[in-house]
């Protein structure tokens, strides 16, 4: 079943995967190492200036962690491997802003919020964007298709956080459906129904902004142009000459071929989820990973920020790996001989 060339492809691909992660990691390692030595002392000094009371033992522990992360102790080889261990286990020691909770635990507690929001919006906008894109390209002479294309051409270049700001203006200020000042406050887990209601209410605007931008921005435009190209293919022309029903041409001849490259994009987008939608979460005060990064940055919490960065690098690299591995199963034309 698993042919020899396929096996070789898999092994090579996994090797590239490991190499990619290593290189990304080395890049960050060198970057941190090239920072001024005083950076760590600055961070620690900043803590005492803020008037946070941390006992001396904690300060020493923090200093040790930071020195390791910034590559300031031991020989270069030692530094590299010590940092590598932290990178792979996402263990960057205790978080500074909520000492002594480990940074990793902090990240894990925020992940469900981000994953639930972004998985839902990514998949929904992927499905809708592709379907609307293909439909618009088959009916491209109609007025509605032209309006859609024009709309998405204007939306596409705009950064997503600008769209978020526009939505806040429209839906919180002009037509006040949502509260102007977000903020979760304490979420009570006592009542499941109210939790879900609360979640839906709070997620609605961020979800809407992500869906609007990524559906009309990217998925729509790419599937539209892919479908345009597919329609000029000989096999579609032939299918039309055979006077196959239009729905069948659309489904089996066009949509299927459009979806193939789009699956790659979906995988990459899903891999990117772990980084959180940084700005969307901050603008809508959504308690996800992006918000955590923001708070970590504001309070100079390097352990937390670094563990989120490492996690998203690993996630994106893994997503591309999985995609490449399952691609031969989705696309029968890809053969590894």
């Amino acid at each position: 079943m698993v042919s020899k060339p396929l096996l070789r492809f898999i092994i090579l691909r996994i090797a590239t995967y490991i190499l990619t992660i290593f290189t990304a990691f080395t890049f960050i390692f060198l970057l941190l190492k090239s920072m001024p030595v005083s950076a760590v002392e600055n961070i620690l000094a900043g803590l005492t200036v803020q008037g946070q009371v941390i006992d001396p033992k904690a300060i020493i522990e923090l200093r040790n962690t930071l020195y390791e992360v910034f590559g300031l102790t031991g020989s270069p080889v030692e530094q590299y491997f010590r940092y590598l261990r932290r990178f792979l286990t996402l263990d960057f020691g205790p978080s500074i802003m909520s000492y002594p909770t480990p940074a990793r635990e902090l990240v894990m507690s925020r992940l469900p919020w981000t994953i639930s929001l972004l998985t839902f919006t990514t998949i929904l906008s992927w499905i809708l964007g592709n379907i609307i894109g293909v439909l618009a390209s088959t009916t491209r002479k109609r007025k509605i298709s032209k309006i859609l294309v024009g709309l998405s051409l204007t939306l596409y270049p705009i950064p997503y956080y600008i769209m978020a700001l526009v939505l806040i203006f429209l839906l919180c200020y002009l037509i006040p459906i949502f509260p102007l000042v977000g903020g979760f406050g304490a979420v009570s887990i006592t009542d499941v129904v109210s939790l879900i209601k609360d979640w839906l209410y709070k997620s609605a605007l961020p979800a809407l902004s992500i869906i609007l931008i990524s559906m009309f921005g990217w998925w729509f435009l790419s599937s539209y142009s892919l479908a345009l190209n597919t329609q000029t293919e000989d096999y579609v022309y032939y299918a039309m000459l055979r006077s196959l029903p239009e729905s069948r041409i659309l489904k089996n001849y066009i949509l299927r071929n459009v979806l193939l490259p789009q699956v790659t994009g979906l995988g990459l987008a899903l891999g990117g989820i772990f980084g959180g939608a940084l700005l969307t979460e901050i603008l809508f005060v959504y308690p996800g990973v992006g918000m955590l990064v923001y708070r970590a940055v504001l309070s100079g919490d390097y352990p937390t920020a670094l563990s989120i960065l490492s996690m998203s690098i690993i996630a994106i690299a893994t997503a591309t790996l999985i995609l490449d591995l399952i691609y031969p199963f989705i696309d029968p034309r890809v053969r590894h001989r």
């Binding site: 950064p159 980084g275 700005l279």
Partner: protein, 299 residues
């Protein structure tokens, strides 16, 4: 002299054709001209606008004077003059990045495409790796570390351009490499190689002219990338907050919760500014790509 004129004409002719024939390009170009006029207006902005509370606070837009045409902010500055300076600084960041990153991309792309083999593998591997790292997060970490030293070496605005160049060269490099690989196989390249021309001559006379329009598109896209990254960082409070850019304008209006205070003119101005900037450059790059790739024109 006549050489300069003919060179100038070779630039101006496509430009006028584009403006006349391509509606996307001409729209984009018009918006850009408006923005450039605003940029130049920033040089005559009253110096007192640099300071807070030099105007009455929270004034609604009124046509009584040019200072108040877009109202004033909660920290007593004229929104209009702040906008002109903001556009100038944002453009500066964008152009500095665009002067660095696409050129690095061009060089790396040409080397990778022409040399092939192991050089190509290594260069593309580095490129792909940097693409894997989430750019915004990377900038957040870099700036978090560098913030104390940023303002120590003179004007911090060009510095932002340098930082964005770290990742901005990757996509241009990939694209240029793909173009070079297909160019390499063409007959005219073979002909000049067989004519005994040197590698540098071939690159300068045969390859770069083919890449030029794409390079121009990369140039405009990089401007957008840098302006977008800067405003993203600014919203996080990680840009140079005491300088006016489109991003820091958004930061301050969010910081003072402009909407909550009913200062809609302050809220909407930087957003419209960014949308106009993006629309202008995007339409221009679309226009150029339709000009060089006629297949895109049939819609």
């Amino acid at each position: 002299m006549s050489r300069t004129i003919s060179n100038l004409r070779s630039i101006l002719t496509p430009l006028t054709t584009l403006i006349k024939t391509n509606i996307k390009f001409s729209t984009g170009f018009t918006i850009l001209v408006i923005l450039l006029v605003l940029t130049f207006l920033s040089f005559v902005a009253p110096p007192k606008n640099q300071h807070w509370y030099s105007y009455p606070k929270n004034l609604a837009p009124s046509l009584t004077s040019i200072d108040l045409i877009l109202g004033t902010t909660a920290n007593g500055r004229s929104v209009f003059w702040t906008l002109t300076t903001a556009i100038r600084n944002s453009f500066l960041i964008g152009i500095i990045t665009a002067l660095i990153a696409p050129h690095i991309g061009l060089i790396i792309g040409i080397i990778a495409g022409l040399k092939g083999g192991i050089v190509d593998r290594i260069l593309m591997f580095i490129t792909d790796t940097i693409i894997v790292i989430p750019a915004l997060m990377l900038y957040v970490i870099i700036i978090m570390i560098l913030r104390p030293v940023i303002s120590m070496y003179g004007d911090p605005i060009p510095f932002m351009g340098l930082i964005f160049s770290i990742t901005a060269w990757c996509w241009p490099a990939r694209q240029v490499r793909a173009m070079v690989i297909s160019l390499r196989e063409r007959e005219f390249i073979l002909t000049t190689t067989l004519s005994g021309n040197s590698m540098l001559y071939i690159i300068a006379r045969e390859i770069i002219p083919h890449l030029l329009p794409w390079h121009l598109i990369n140039f405009t896209n990089t401007i957008l990338y840098a302006i977008g990254s800067e405003s993203g960082l600014a919203i996080l409070g990680l840009s140079i907050l005491d300088k006016d850019t489109l991003g820091t304008m958004i930061y301050w209006m969010l910081y003072y919760s402009a909407l909550f205070r009913d200062l809609w003119w302050w809220y909407i101005t930087p957003i419209v500014g960014i949308i106009m900037t993006f629309a202008a450059f995007f339409l221009i790059s679309q226009g150029i790509s339709e000009y060089v790739n006629p297949r895109l024109r049939q819609r």
